[in-house]
Amino acid sequence: MSTKKFMYLNRKAPYGTVYALESLEVVLIAAAFEQDVSLAFIDDGVYQIVEGQNTDGIGMKNFSKTFHALGDYDINQLYVSAESLEERGLSADDLMPLIYEDEDDDWAEKPSVKIVSNAELSKLMSDQDVCLSF
């Protein structure tokens, strides 16, 4: 099966609409088909990977936990817009410490999240075969 580069653009906060959860489901499906998958978090999408989410009070599934599984699925390129973080008064320290184990480096744990400028994101997007926006 041929491999394509897929980038998922996540632009919406979790829970208020179903976009974020739907995106994650599609990401996992693409990964099951062993495609080259990366994620970008821009606008309110950055809230999807903010640390300390607790959904007990709204009776919804806390799917922020699922982002920790992405490393198992060989998804280890999570790009976050620096500008979007800044606009919202957030920094890298507010995000979940998402990691993956590098098979080629004796399973060393490495960070999956990378903060990038919008200009860098633009470049990353133009390198993709498919960009899907949620």
Partner: protein
């Protein structure tokens, strides 16, 4: 790249987000409620620079449906569905800003 935007600039930030990450060779096609952003004499001038470079298109059917044909900025080009397909072919990877 081809970027399609289907939300009005007055309702969502889709157009602004698109502009935040667009590169110098990309073009924008406004579709559905996105064509509202093509109107001239509004308080939003987000598209002015790109339109001046001839890099903004709007889907004619959606413009006409909303009765704003005469209000579309002069340097925004109207395309039909065939023109839409041509843009996809010419510009490769498409991103839909929803």
């Amino acid at each position: 790249m081809l970027h399609t935007v289907n939300k009005s600039v007055f309702e969502r930030n889709s157009l602004q987000s698109c502009l935040n990450t667009i590169d110098d060779s990309s073009v924008i096609l406004l579709i559905e409620d996105g064509v509202i952003s093509a109107a001239k004499n509004t308080k939003s001038s987000l598209l002015a620079d790109l339109a001046a470079e001839g890099r903004v298109f709007a889907l004619q059917g959606d413009v006409e449906a909303r009765g704003i044909s005469s209000k579309v900025a002069d340097n925004i080009k109207l395309v039909d569905y065939e023109g839409f397909v041509d843009l996809v072919v010419e510009h490769g990877t498409a991103v839909s800003w929803v």
